[in-house]
Subunit: 209 residues, 2 copies
DNA sequence: GACAAATTCAAACAGATGTTCTAAACACAT
DNA sequence: ATGTGTTTAGAACATCTGTTTGAATTTGTC
């Protein structure tokens, strides 16, 4: 019917949207296929399973998101710890607030968190592991060599928590503070705040140890 | 079969567990009824709908959680802002980490965030609104009268983000840092860190404004 | 154009799911 | 004990779900 050989791609795209909106179990193969303009049997033919399609969506979405906002922050080796932290936070926030094509990837992760499958651990190891190592190195530099690892980890979680909050609690935030925007300018402002806030927190934690 | 007139309560209890584990759509009425030792028709009789049961569970869970860890922090009027912040963070973390009866309420909220229904906004307004006002007052006191409202809100979100992170990202955290515990002693340590970290961040934000 | 492989299609299948129906069991006031 | 309104039981219903099947169509290659 449509141009050939691209049904697989259309399925991936449509499935991402629908899975993100409804979660894995609540999503019906028929809705995906209708939105993709494909036959009901297409999913089983191309991905063998509904679950196979789900994993494929998760994987391709993670790759697309990291490609669009790479963890390599484009900073020279002379960049200070403050700059590195700011760049990391900024990049993470933009990835979260993205409304473009792989935007549904964030919602998929939310569903995974609420109801984890094997895919979650794989994703963390293969895709997000390197970014985490990066943030750990940044924090370690800021907090000093002598600080115990537990302090590094606490600061790391404080930073991640502040950023991911805007992803996790978006529906609640938009209900409580409807005037809060998620436009690029808002994100920039937010990134600055989180960086400043965290830098102060990190220095406080460094003093204590 | 069982003692009478308490089927409704057993359904509520069982439904909370199953809904939290599987989400709304993935949960089957039959599984709830089996776990509750009730007939399949019991849900429709007592709650008219599967959805009606879901709303009832959400409401009773929120009430139970707030009853167990009341937002009234048990502090006298002479308490300092630092003490109030610590008490708030501590209470929120314990509510999140609770493994007791209303523990599934947190997971239900996660599902609501990933896939919001009307129930979410009602819950925020009627149940969590007062706690938010409380935290806002604490931050306002710490940040000073002259700081703009946007600064207060940013700090508020930074604090909430750090706390809720341990709720939202629990599966990921336990996979990345398996050694991290969620026992009372761990929670106490965490509460102290978040309080100290945030106090430093708040004072930094106050200086800037 | 002809042939083999890959892809798409409509239809059907088997199982599960939310809900409804009717009769039976029960609680409780008289 | 009797009668009445409430609650429970099992079976059945209608619908939806993921998947399979086998024929039809299209694709790439000679």
């Amino acid at each position: 019917m449509r141009s050939t050989h691209e049904t697989e791609g259309r399925l991936l795209e449509a499935a991402g949207e629908v899975f993100a909106a409804r979660g894995f179990r609540a999503t019906t193969v028929r809705e995906i296929c209708q939105q993709a303009g494909a036959n009901v049997a297409a999913v089983n033919y191309h991905f063998s399973d509904k679950e196979g399609l789900y994993f494929a969506v998760l994987k391709s979405g993670a790759e697309a998101a990291l490609k669009k906002y790479p963890p390599t922050l484009g900073l020279g080796p002379t960049a200070t710890g403050e700059e590195r932290l700011h760049a990391f936070v900024r990049s993470l926030l933009f990835r979260i607030a993205d409304k473009g094509r792989p935007s549904w990837h964030g919602k998929l992760i939310s569903h995974e968190m609420a109801e984890p499958t094997k895919a979650l651990t794989v994703l963390i190891d293969k895709v997000y592991g390197s970014a985490l190592k990066q943030l750990e190195a940044i924090v370690r530099k800021l907090v000093g060599r002598r600080a115990p690892i537990t302090v590094v980890r606490q600061c790391l979680q404080s930073i991640l928590g502040q950023c991911l909050y805007f992803h996790y609690a978006r529906p609640a935030i938009q209900h409580i503070h409807p005037e809060q925007g998620f436009e690029p300018a808002d994100i920039e402002r937010l990134a600055k705040h989180i960086t400043q806030f965290s830098l102060a927190g990190i220095r406080q934690a460094a003093k204590k140890s």
